[in-house]
Assembly symmetry: C2
Homo-oligomer: 141 residues x 2
């Protein structure tokens, strides 16, 4: 098989990291299918996730490996891990432990909608934005 | 509000593009919730998507704006668009027109699973990998 065909149709796991050594991770709730968050993994985070079955990421702002829930207790148990056609993104179907995935206290990070059919400045609309926990209590700054 | 608080808790849409001017777009089937694909948008693709209600992306390999389905006919009608807490990712809930979203001919790009609990070399397992269309017929190379 040609290289690109092998990546798309083969069984060898060959994650394609970007210039910063990261791959995109899409995280959904295994039960409801809800999109919880988008994060990034380096090779170490991906290996730890595969071995442990719990989600590890790489924080671009803090520039370090990070176990989801290490501070908040809101771990993610990975029920299934998938990779996309060109192997530059992974999909984690997780059991979200605790009240939510988002550091703002919500269940999902995607709690605002962008109205469609408009041009120019856009005003976001809050959706499913109920706070499930108090971030000031859960995270020590 | 402080800048980061405004980004997370405000109603101003302020997409945060990366060094290449791109934002991550996660695309799910509005009816089934299935993850179809992950792509990237530049500001132009995002504006066209918001205005038209059809999905536009930016191809990193071809380095150009790209309307989903322009060649295959497999358009995506956007039912809802959301942005995440730090505004560096968007979520499109779409009606997928045609047989599938993936250029390999599948419904979703995520047709292979990574087995968990292992270390070292990993062998992928095909899941929901049925081909819905023939890419050689749909795409003229």
């Amino acid at each position: 098989m040609a290289a690109s065909k092998e990546i798309e149709e083969g069984t060898a796991f060959a994650p394609k990291y970007d210039a910063d050594g990261l791959i995109t991770a899409v995280v959904t709730d295994a039960a409801s299918g809800e999109l919880l968050m988008v994060a990034h993994m380096n090779a170490d985070a991906l290996a730890k996730t595969i071995e442990s079955g719990e989600a590890w990421y790489f924080s671009r702002s803090r520039k370090r490996l990070w176990k989801k829930g290490e501070e908040s207790g809101n771990l993610q148990r990975v029920k299934e891990l998938r990779v996309d056609c060109d192997q530059d993104a992974v999909w984690l179907k997780v059991e979200q432990v605790g009240a939510g995935a988002c550091h703002t206290g919500r269940r999902s990070c995607f709690y605002r909608a962008v109205p469609l059919g408009k041009s120019g400045a856009v005003t976001l609309e809050f959706k499913d934005a109920e706070k499930r926990f108090d971030p000031d209590k859960v995270y020590k700054k």
